[in-house]
Amino acid sequence: MSVLARSVGNAFRNKIRTAAVVAVLAVAIGLALSMLVANQAVGAKVQELNASVGTTLTVNPAGGQGFEGGGEPLTTAEAETAASVANVTSVVGTKALRLQTATTDSTTGTGQQTGPGGGFGPGGQQASVSTNLTAAVDAGTLGNRNNTSGTTGTTGTQPARTLPITATGIGAEVDSTGKALDITSGTGLGDYTTSEAKALVGTSLAEKNSLTVGSTFTIQDKTFTVAGIFDAGTTFGNNAVYVTLPEAQTLAETPDELSTMIVTVNSMENVDSTKTAVQAALGTDKADVTQGQRNLETAVSSLDSVKNISLIAFIAALATAGIIILLIMVMLVRERRREIGVLKAIGARNRTIGLQFVLESLVLVALGSVVGAVIASLASGGIASALISSNTTTTAATTTQRGGGLAGAMPNGAVPGGGMPGGGQGGPFGGASQLLTSVTASVSPGVLAAGIAAVFAVAIIGALVPALLTARIRPIEVLRGE
């Protein structure tokens, strides 16, 4: 018999009571662990969202976004100005083109190929050029509606039930929102600053037109070779072509013009100040500077509050577990007063007895933790989702509307990255629903272990008080009656 063996034995002296104590402890510990898991999961999500908000700024011509509005186009010189602003690591210019499918009917095309200012839409930013490619997206109701409204300015019959394809000239291997391109086969374009008849084609567009790496197609009667196929992750994003920036500028016949600039800032903290600095450098009359996916910030801040709530709940549940242990052990010490007196009478040191009681409480906590961990792994996903959905309802509602707006706008051929928040990424609403599922999925053993360590630490503190009380019991207690 050792102190430990005696402690374990004592923990099971009254089995019914032990079961009750373990059950109560398990609920408290389970709740604490669930809260910790929720806290960690939400924390990870916040980080992920922050990272996806990223460190990029988007610069559009003042008064114009995408194909909307007017104003003067951005120029290569302005890109250099932006690049010289402090904390800016890179500036990538893009030039958007609208590729219109040339039909076999020889009379069509000319009306659609009138260059900047012509073609669809009121904007002057997008050059419409012809191609032999067919869009991978069916027009559908939205497309037809958009095309109808978009062609009100032109006369003549409607050739198009086909949607335009977005071609973007890029100054680096990033998509129009500044994210690195995910090239699934083939290679990139190599040097993005020279004019070359090579292109990157989105997966669905490639499939629709039976293009593989090495295939050729035409834009404005010029033959392009497919250098690589990329996957943007969305149907709209994959109905696109990327060429080098000078190539796009040549095709559009506007050598120095840029549709947008993607400015990368060196760190998250500097994004806000750099945004102001770039805006100042370019002038408010020349350019609008926006931060990509800005509206995710609301989601992030409400998630932050969920994180705080779960942290407080974790601490509260932990404290509850500690108090339960404290009360149970105080009760046990009172109940075994006489026995403690006997142990002292036969020569047990105070610390031996104290240790015995602390160990006994740890046995109870260990059992409670096992059951609690099971409870936590079953319940934490639900608890986390409940916490998040109740806290982000408002955010979700607003983002749903935005999402709807985007869905309508996208098939219109809006140039991605033209300040459209979350374009091509499923939008912030996608982020929010993604968040619910990923939070549910992440009960990591590491977090559970850390939580259980915290529970044990609190239990030791809780048990220490009654254990120290045993030191005050005098051995003479044994001579008194029960």
Binding site: A348, P475, L479
Partner: protein, 230 residues
Amino acid sequence: MIVVKDLVRQFKSGDRTIKPVNGVSFELEKGSLASIVGKSGSGKSTLLSLLGALDKPTSGDVVVDGVSLAGLPDGKLTEYRRRDIGFVFQQFNLIPNLSAVDNVMLPMEFAGVRKAARLQRAKELLEQVQLDPEKHSRRTNRLSGGEQQRVAIARALANEPKLILADEPTGNLDEQTGEHIIELLSSLSRDHNTTILVVTHDRSLAQKTERCFRLQQGRLTEEVRTGSRR
């Protein structure tokens, strides 16, 4: 050698104070076997608890081998109880959920005896007090009064104490087993030079001790023996 000097222990019960021990003085040679007799409630257990450092006297002192208990801190008193004293309680005070062997092993565990050694000694001691071997591993709350009494005696002997204080050690035993226990105690005093002080109502036990004290009205008087000790 134990020297008891003018020991007083008083209790307050309500508005009056009682003094079951009121100026007790005596000396016991090392290795002697002595008994204390007295009426129920005369203060025998109270006196024994003072000698065993379970309780502190109101005044007076107990000096064991030149060391005054009055001057010792609690930690040293614990060590004194662990190393030097074997106490047989009137109500046995065994740990009910532990087996007989485990109870006997407890004082040895506190004294740091290795596990194998203490198990062996515990078994030997239980054999010496004639506890049925099949009851060695039985929980003590499932033993009879007499069996518990013998486990309590075995536990008191565990650390080979120099002073054994036994409160009615034969009170629950049949005559024959009682005789055996008395024999065991006197052999310890004879062969191991252990000092033994027994509280008893049993006249025949008192007869067999070298010296016999009577506690009356808080004072101890030695009964004068005419015949020789057998």
